[in-house]
């Protein structure tokens, strides 16, 4: 980081950063819930949406660079920007009406309670006619 020497923006870095698929997502089994976490630094709750279709949780949003900073002012640019979308297939059915999501310190945590298994009901058969 020296003042002189002009622009030293590393063109290889943004490609590498992009390949790191923002956001990185982790999926956990916490017994009665599945927990999905995603790293979304600098993203506000109104800048993304979360949807559940069947067993698929989709996160979609965008992260925009500060428009007041001209490209040539960057000496280093590694952080990914632009639209992103991730879909996660959950291993079993979810109680869709009980999903909770929080965003704190740039980390999204989604708690997805597993749907209760429909209990197997035994049907008694009685003889008739005799």
């Amino acid at each position: 980081m020296s003042w002189g020497g002009g622009r030293s923006r590393d063109t290889a870095l943004p490609v590498y950063a992009w390949r790191r698929a923002m956001p990185a997502v982790n999926v956990y089994d916490a017994g009665s819930d599945f927990v999905v976490t995603a790293e979304l630094p600098g993203v506000r709750p109104d800048q993304f949406e979360l949807t559940l279709t069947g067993d698929t949780l989709t996160l979609r949003g965008r992260r925009d660079p500060d428009p007041s900073i001209p490209d040539e002012a960057y000496r280093r640019q590694e952080r990914p920007f632009g639209p992103w979308s991730r879909s996660i297939n959950l291993p079993s059915r979810i109680a869709a009406d009980q999903i909770r999501a929080t965003l704190a310190q740039g980390v999204l945590t989604v708690i997805l309670p597993k749907a209760e298994e429909v209990p197997t009901r035994q049907i008694r058969v009685t003889m008739s006619g005799d």
Partner: protein, 150 residues
């Protein structure tokens, strides 16, 4: 060492319920640049750009709170360490892990043109911003060399 100091971090985080500090872990080590936990660390992605007043460094440190962040300047090296606290219960079994929720650590070499005494930092929604003002001309040390005639 009087050339070493820590930079206080302002929090720009929107109000939310604070999580308690895990027991047994030091909240902060202002007098040391070493990590608070002896675990593997990862390097945060950063942008650095020029501003009118100097340089602005922005680092993605998701999962790090103001209390878990240490920024330290010693000589010409600025180092940052962010402790990452998991939001997932310890008993939870990972099914698919694309990232390791481990601490962040990275160091930068500062040029002489940064006024090290006026560096400030702010943390907001998992993004750390460090402002490094340009040293004013009057503050630059000029070392005079006197020729001695023999």
């Amino acid at each position: 060492m009087d050339d070493a100091h820590s930079i206080p971090v302002r929090s720009g985080e929107v109000a939310q319920s604070g999580r308690p500090e895990p027991a047994g872990l030091p909240a902060r080590r202002p007098s040391s640049g070493t990590p608070a936990r002896n675990l593997e660390v990862r390097s945060p992605l950063v942008d650095i750009h020029d501003t009118e007043a100097g340089l602005l460094l922005e680092a993605d440190v998701p999962g790090t709170s103001e209390q878990g962040l240490t920024i330290h300047v010693e000589h010409n090296v600025l180092s940052l360490h962010g402790r990452v606290e998991s939001t997932v219960p310890e008993s939870a079994k990972p099914l698919d892990q694309e990232y390791q929720p481990i601490d962040f650590q990275r160091s930068f070499i500062l040029s002489d043109e940064v006024d090290r005494s006026r560096i400030t930092a702010e943390l907001r929604n998992g993004v750390l911003r460090i402002w490094m003002p340009r040293a004013e001309r009057g503050q630059m040390r000029i070392i005079q060399v006197r020729a001695e005639d023999h």
